[in-house]
């Protein structure tokens, strides 16, 4: 239960060994390399350039290839992928992949060309589709398009007018004997018309039409009827789509290269990380200098391994100074370890603060259990999740979260048994260990929740007091923590009938807070009002304590829904009942486990951590390869 002790390491070595040393550092994965901000060094050891553009471009191409070729070959990505093991590659596998590099990049270039072609084809398709769209209103026009053309004596053309003026136009045109208008189609805005006019009457007809917002339309097909034209365009589109499919298949044919691409992507991304790290170093012609945070316990290993590579290095370790922000890395053992993720999700502890995991984990599990509060659900979580963790390869945060839920499951079994709730059923727990039924005894349940809450908050104060004493401020521990414990703790003492003791505790607490609350203020008025404003903090205490009633509320939700599920299933014939029971209980477990997890987090973050936690630590980010696709095995 501690924050890992860090040491600042300074390494000076020959420039010719730089790559070898950096590779080794990356493999060890325990050095957080820092930028050297010493201005005096600028002349002799200027900062180096960082990154490598060629590598970056290669990486981008590989990532693109992995994504697009994977998609074209129908490689399915699913949420369960993170449960699968990554392939393990040894150094000969890496060498093999590097040999095929040219082949891989040629394949990617081909695919990029194919993708470009697909883009061009897509543009053609959308052009054709817009034509189809244009033609749609003219579908019922049975005359072939080539017939809609001017003759010696008449003019024939197509166009649109405003639908609202259609009637007016028809009426006016009927007065002109040498003009005929046929409406092909009408929608809410436009009327699509074909106009036949004798050349003598053309001007008059046009005048009338223009008044109705006439727009001439040239149908985008060369010949034949509109329907046939549409059919032809559709055929063209499907031919083009087939063309796209062919291009995709060509891309998909490169799928056998995918494993090689993945190895290369990981190798290059490791190279790229090193190239970026180089930008943090200082170097002269002959030698370079590197500064890094290293966990104190890795000191000997680092010294040994780096000296083995190059005996001529100078290596120095020193403790961080008071004002130096070393990165924080929590270290917890066994069942406490998964709970680190909850702290990480909030904010890392400051390096000079404390690791809150051990004082938080028992409460977290306890509250989680109370909020799920069904022993049956608890059993499922406590049994199923360890099996999942054992037989799959979940990594990182997800693994920790599942661990937390599994331990919470154990707490759930305990609370569920005490409350006598098993898959929404009761009367299973023997009466001797049954604590209470929250549904029938809500008042006592409420007291239990509030009581646990006060215990939680007092633990927080206790930790804060311990920190104060450890840092040599025992007086702060009394003023900021002990008085509050007296004050808040006095209330229940008063309520259970110990009037004198209760009153005494409250008075000492309130008095103490009033007198000492302003002790850090400079002037007299500040000192006087400081106490009052400190005492005003009681409102936040009230809301903090009442916040724990959510333990009851969330537990109630699980319990009653479970009961309702059983009741509904009881009304159904057997096969349906089983389906309903399985589905609904799974849903209830899922949604309540999520709720319990997040609400339990909230009780830690908002109520608990505000009492003592010193956040804002910087993460420890050592130089590692951080592979995404494969695990590369070291030959040593």
């Amino acid at each position: 239960m501690a924050i890992v002790e860090m040491k600042k390491c300074t390494l000076i070595a020959l420039k010719q060994d730089e790559q070898k040393l950096l590779k080794k550092i990356q493999r060890m994965g325990c050095m957080h390399v820092l930028e050297i901000a010493d201005k005096e060094l600028d002349e002799q050891m200027p900062a180096q350039s960082s990154g490598d553009e060629i590598l970056e471009r290669k990486l981008m191409k590989l990532e693109w290839g992995i994504k697009e070729i994977g998609r074209a070959s129908g490689e399915k990505k699913s949420m369960l992928d993170s449960f699968k093991a990554r392939p393990v590659i040894d150094e000969s596998g890496v060498a093999e992949a590097l040999k095929r590099e040219d082949e891989v990049f040629r394949a990617i270039a081909d695919c990029e060309q194919a993708e470009k072609d697909i883009g061009a084809v897509r543009a053609d398709i959308s052009l054709l589709e817009s034509r189809l769209h244009q033609l749609a209103p003219w579908e019922s026009l049975d005359t072939p398009v080539e017939a809609i053309t001017d003759t010696k004596h008449s003019r024939v053309f197509t166009g649109t007018i405003a639908a609202s003026k259609q009637a007016l136009v028809e009426e006016k045109l009927s007065e002109l004997p040498l003009v005929s208008v046929e409406s092909v189609f009408m929608d809410s805005q436009l009327s699509y018309i074909v106009v036949f006019a004798h050349r003598d009457a053309y001007q008059d007809a046009m005048e009338i039409l223009r008044a109705a917002d006439f727009t001439k339309v040239v149908l985008p097909i060369g010949e034949g009827r509109v329907k046939d034209g549409e059919k032809k365009i559709r055929e063209e589109i499907s031919a083009l789509e087939k063309n796209i499919e062919e291009h995709r298949q060509t891309m998909g044919k490169n799928a056998p290269l995918l494993p090689t691409m993945k190895i290369l992507a990981d190798v290059y991304s490791a190279d790229e990380k090193r190239a970026e790290t180089e930008g943090l170093l200082r170097a002269s012609d002959k030698c370079f200098m590197l500064e890094a945070w290293v966990p104190a316990e890795a000191e000997t290993a680092v010294t040994e391994k780096l000296t083995a590579i190059s005996p001529s290095i100078a290596l120095e370790f020193r403790k961080p100074a008071e004002d130096e922000d070393a990165p924080s890395q929590m270290e917890n053992k066994g069942i406490f370890r998964p709970f680190e993720t909850i702290v990480e999700n909030y904010s890392l502890p400051s390096y000079h603060g404390i690791d809150p995991v051990v004082v938080m984990a028992p409460f977290f599990a306890c509250f989680f259990g109370m909020m799920v509060s069904d022993a049956g659900y608890g059993l499922i979580m406590a049994i199923l999740i360890p099996l999942i963790l054992k037989f799959t390869h979940v990594k990182g945060t997800m693994r920790k979260i599942l661990g937390v839920v599994a331990i919470g499951g154990v707490a759930t079994v305990i609370w569920g048994a005490l409350f006598d709730t098993w898959f929404g059923m009761s009367n299973i727990t023997p009466a001797s260990i049954k604590l209470l039924n929250p549904m029938e005894d809500p008042l006592n349940m409420m007291i239990l929740c509030i009581g646990l809450g006060v215990l939680h908050l007092f633990t927080g104060l206790g930790v804060a007091a311990y920190m104060n004493i450890k840092r040599g401020h025992p007086w702060d521990a009394v003023c900021d923590q002990l008085f509050w414990i007296f004050f808040i703790g006095g209330v229940p003492v008063l309520l259970i009938g110990q009037q004198t003791l209760g009153m005494a505790l409250i008075l000492i607490g309130v008095g103490g807070i009033l007198i000492t609350g302003g002790r850090k203020k400079k002037n007299l008025i500040g000192k006087l009002t400081g106490g009052l404003s400190s005492l005003y903090g009681v409102t936040s205490w009230l809301s903090d304590i009442l916040s724990y009633s959510r333990l009851f509320g969330m537990g109630l939700a699980t319990g009653v829904i479970g009961m309702v599920i059983n009741m509904l299933a009881g009304m159904l014939p057997l096969p349906f009942a089983i389906i309903v029971l399985l589905g609904a209980h799974t849903f209830n477990l899922g949604i309540n486990a999520l709720g319990a997890y997040v609400h339990s987090c909230r009780l830690q973050y908002i109520e608990y951590f505000t009492k003592f936690y010193e956040a804002d630590g910087k993460p420890f980010v050592p130089l590692t390869a951080d592979n995404r696709y494969v695990d590369i095995k070291d030959n040593e």
Partner: protein, 155 residues
Amino acid sequence: MELGLILGFLGAAISVFLSGIGSAKGVKVAGDAASGVTAENPELFGKVLVMQLLPATQGIYGFLIGFIVLIKINIFGAMTIPTVTQGLSLLVGCLPVGVVCLVSGILQGKLAASCIGMVARRPDQSGKGITMTVMVETYAVLALLASFLMVWFAM
């Protein structure tokens, strides 16, 4: 039918439909955002789905109180007809969960939508988004508790 019974039923109905509207609206708003994010990046489906589901709980709370009213009336056995006073108390008891869940469901949905937008840009921060979104639910839980106590002791 007795007036007391009708009042009790009215209470159950109010708590179920108000909270149901709240959740439906909240899940819809969050779902709109989630579908946009999924279109851009299908791998985030799991993460945004969890967020979309957060405003779903309000509807469950309302349903739960409605059901407790029905249990109190013992609708599944020999029905106990509440008096008019008891019926009114049941009705009043249903109001906190109904009204609060209506509002908090919608608001939580909106917040979930913003947090889904955040996940689209920073997928690694989804835990923080969930935590922020769940803050809104606090008041729905408190309303549930208040309603439960009122309904439980109404008759």
